[in-house]
Amino acid sequence: MVLRELHTDGFRCLASLAFAPGRGVNVISGDNAQGKTSVLEAVLYAATSKSHRTNQETDLVQHGRPGFRIRVTAQRPGRDVAVDATWWHGEKRFKVNGVAQSRVSDILGKLPVVFFSPEDVELVRGTASIRRRFLDMAISQLEPPYLRALQQYRQALKQRNELLKQDRVTGDLLDAWDEQLVRHGTVMVRSRQGFGQELARFAAPAYDAIAAREGLELSYLPDIEVGEDYARVLLENRDRDRRYGLTNRGPHRDDFELTIEGRPARQFASQGQQRTAALALKLAELKLVRERIAEYPMLMLDDVLSELDTKRSSRLFNTIPEEAQCLLTTTDLTTSAVPSGLACSVFRIRNGALTPA
C-alpha cells in the first residue's frame, strides 16, 4: 500500500494536518516532543484501531477537544482505500470507503502496515506476552479467521477460568468450554506455526543485512504442539486447573525464542544486537506480508536511527525495498544515510505542524 494522504484533527499535539508523503522513503525530522511519533501513531491507529503507546483513546485526544478524527487515503493494487477513524465523545467509529464498520475484524488488513518503534526491543528482551501480542497483531492483519479464533478463544478462556473458581463446576460444563479452546486454539497454533516458520526464514537474512554478520534464529515454541492430543492435555490438567483457578495449558502460554549466534538473545545478546534483532523481526514481517498479499505494506520506522550506528543505519536503508513506501522519523535532518537510489522526501515538524523541507 502507498499512503496518499493523512488528515488528522484533534489528534495528540498535531495541528489539523494534511500530510501527503511521496513514494519511497519519507523522512520526518524534528526535535523531541514536536509530534513526529504522533504522525505515525495516527496512521497505525487508522490501520489497526490501536495505538502502540496507550490503550486509552482519551490519551490520544488533544487537550480541550471532544475527540479526534483521522482520515487515511491509500493506494492499493487495483483499488484505493479511504479509512475514517474517529473517536468522538467517547464513541469509536470506523468507516472504510464511506461504509461504517461494526467490528475490528473488518478493519484489520485494509491498510497493511508494519510499525517499528524503539520499544520493540522488548520483543527480544521482554516477556512472552509481548511476543504473543506481536504474533496476534501480525497474523490478524493477514488472516481474518485467525482474529475470529483468537477472539473466541480469549472469551472461552475467560469463561473457563471463571468456571474453575466456582463450586458448581462439573465435568460436563468444563467439556463444553474445553471443546471451544481446542477448536479455536488449534486454529491459532497452526497459524502461528506457519507464520513463525516464514518469519524465521526472512528474519535471518534481515539480521545479516543490518548487522553484517549471521546469527539470528527464531523458533516458535507452542505450549501444546500441533498434532498433540489437545483435548487430552486439557483433561489431564483439570485437577491442577481447579486448584489454581485458571487454565494452565494452551496457546495463551506460547512463546517464540530468538537466538543470536546460538545463544538466547533475551539473556545473552548485547543491547545493540537486541535492537538489531527487533528491527530484523519487523523487516521480516514486511517481506512476509509482501509474499502473502503480493504488495508491500507501508513501513513505519520511529526513531530508528538513534538506535543504530552509522554503518548499521546505511545498511538498514539498503534493505528497504525500492517499491516499499517508508515513513521514518528522526531528530537529525541529515539524509546522508539514504542511498541515492531510493526516492526520498523530507518533511520538518515543529509544534505539531508539518512542512516539506
Binding site: Q155, Q159, R160, E162, A176, E179
Partner: protein
Amino acid sequence: MLFNTPAFEQLVDALRRLPGVGKRSAERLALHLLSAPGEEALSLSEAIVEARRRITRCSQCCNLTDRDPCAICAHPGRDHGLICVVEHPSGAMAIEKAGAYKGLYHVLHGALSPLEGIGPDELAIDALLRRISGTVREIIVATNATAEGEATALYLSRVIGQRFGTAVTRIAHGVPMGSGLEYADDATLAHALEGRKQL
C-alpha cells in the same frame, strides 16, 4: 438543575439497563420522557405494566406468549417431533420470520456464562429435558455463534445424548461468527437450518 437530581439519575440508570442503550441515549430518552406531555410517559408505563401482566412464559417452550400453551405449541399443523432451541425469543422470532421452519421451539432465556453467573440452573434447560419424549425425533440447537452459544450447544448435546439418545443437531452455515441470530437475514437463516449437522 435537573442533572444531579436522584429522580433523574434513577430514570437514566433504569433506561441504561435496556439492551443497546448507552449512557447518552439513556439521557436523551429520559429528557424526552420528562419534557413530553405527561400522558405520554404515563401511557408508556401503563403499556409496560399491561404487557408484563398479560405476557408470560409458555409452560412448554418457555417462549413469551399471551396464552398458554403458545400459538406455536398449540398448532396441530406444526411438526411436534422437531424442537429448535434458541437463546432468546428474538431468535425464535427471526427463524419464524424466515418462514422455512415448521417445527417447535424452545427458548433458553440466555446462554451459559460463568462470568455472568449463568449456569444450567439459570436457563430453561430442565424444561427442555422434560419435553423430550419418544415423539421428539430431533433437537436443533440454534444458539448464537458466540463462545457462550457454542458452549451451551455442546453442553446440551452432552446432556441430551447421555439421557435420551435423541438426535441433536447444530445449525451450521452462514450464521455470522460472534453475533446473534436476529442480525442474520432470512436467506442466511433458512440456509443455516438446512445445513445443520450432528452434534
